[in-house]
């Protein structure tokens, strides 16, 4: 096993008989991934950063397809690009955070060079350790074979619903907890008694205006909302 892994890791690209199609696809996808990642980091506008994130996620999905992980590629596109990034964009639009972050200001002096140095050091360490050492522990195929005949969805589904059934069930509890937490966090804090059930009729519109003012980012404390609600009728 160690020999196999060693051969797979250390062997240069030319020795693996990869077809030119694979090499080209990998190169293009890797370029897309890296360009998107750099774009996320250096984009000033959060909306641009989110779009760059979509680019990276699509590149990762292509790399998944290239490694015969078809189901995960589909899920990657649907969940990440379809749900998570949309959630990001929704929050950006909701909060009106289209103000560009001032990149010139550096509150902590010397933080950026230090961060860049530390990251480069960590990356170099990981790459060098990956090249010179072989730490392979554990056994292969404890959960079932990934390669070979059969569809990827079939193998993944069988593994999820047999070996990993209990973690899968726990996942549902995690999602329920997340939903409840999101509702609790996003609820408006109870201010005074004015927004109780006695308000009828046009309360929705008033509430909407109050929220609009709030979301525009000018209001800092909840008392202003109360004033809004009293003035509006």
């Amino acid at each position: 096993m160690v020999n196999l892994l060693n051969g797979a890791i250390i062997a240069p690209l030319a020795a693996t008989h990869a077809s030119w199609t694979d090499i080209g696809t990998f190169a293009v996808a890797a370029a897309i991934v890296l360009a998107g990642a750099i774009g996320v980091v250096i984009a000033r506008n959060p909306v641009h950063a989110a779009l760059m994130l979509v680019m990276t996620l699509f590149g990762i999905a292509v790399l998944f397809v290239l490694q015969r992980a078809d189901f995960l590629a589909a899920v990657q596109v649907i969940v990440y690009a379809g749900a998570i990034v949309v959630l990001f964009l929704f929050v950006i639009m909701f909060l009106g955070v289209d103000k560009t972050e001032s990149v010139k200001v550096e509150p902590l002096r010397g933080q950026r060079p230090l961060a860049a140095g530390l990251t480069a050091l960590g990356l170099a360490g990981v790459l060098i350790l990956g090249l010179v050492s072989h730490w392979t522990t554990g056994k292969a195929s404890v959960a079932g074979a990934a390669n070979g005949p059969g569809s990827n969805v079939f193998k993944l589904g069988r593994s999820v619903f047999t070996t990993y059934l209990f973690p899968f069930e726990v996942t549902s509890a995690l999602l329920v907890i997340a939903v409840v937490g999101a509702v609790v966090l996003a609820r408006r804090p109870p201010t005074t008694g004015t927004d109780g059930p006695d308000a009828i009729g046009a309360t929705g519109a008033i509430d909407a205006t109050g929220e609009t003012v709030d979301a525009a980012g000018d209001v800092t404390d909840p008392t202003t909302e109360t004033i809004d609600e009293e003035v509006a009728p």
Binding site: A37, F88, V91, F94, A140, S141, T171
Partner: protein, 101 residues
């Protein structure tokens, strides 16, 4: 035959480093979240690569769970961001020093 896994692992390491760098130098909370997503994706790529190299479907199952946890984490994180922005406008990570003595 496909490409050697080392290339995927190197790409994942670079991607993770870019994400970590962005998390360290950006001050917008939303962009910091996106950088966390970058790091999670780098880990996912590593998992899938090892699943192929070691011929073990468990890596792909783990990516499945990472996706679920990432979705939950984003939901909670963005809820916290919305709650913070409701209190104070234009909050970068530097403005959140309420617990400083």
């Amino acid at each position: 035959m496909t490409i050697a896994g080392a290339w995927y692992l190197g790409l994942a390491a670079v991607l993770f480093s870019i994400g970590a760098l962005g998390l360290l130098i950006r001050r917008n909370v939303l962009v910091m979240f996106m950088c966390v997503e970058l790091m999670l994706n780098a880990a996912n790529l590593t998992f899938v690569t090892f699943a192929r190299m070691m011929n073990d479907i468990g890596g792909q199952v783990l990516v499945f769970f990472v996706l679920v946890v990432a979705a939950a984490e984003v939901v909670i994180g963005l809820g916290i961001v919305v709650a913070i922005f409701r209190r104070r406008a234009n909050a970068t990570a530097d403005d959140l020093h309420l617990m400083k003595g």
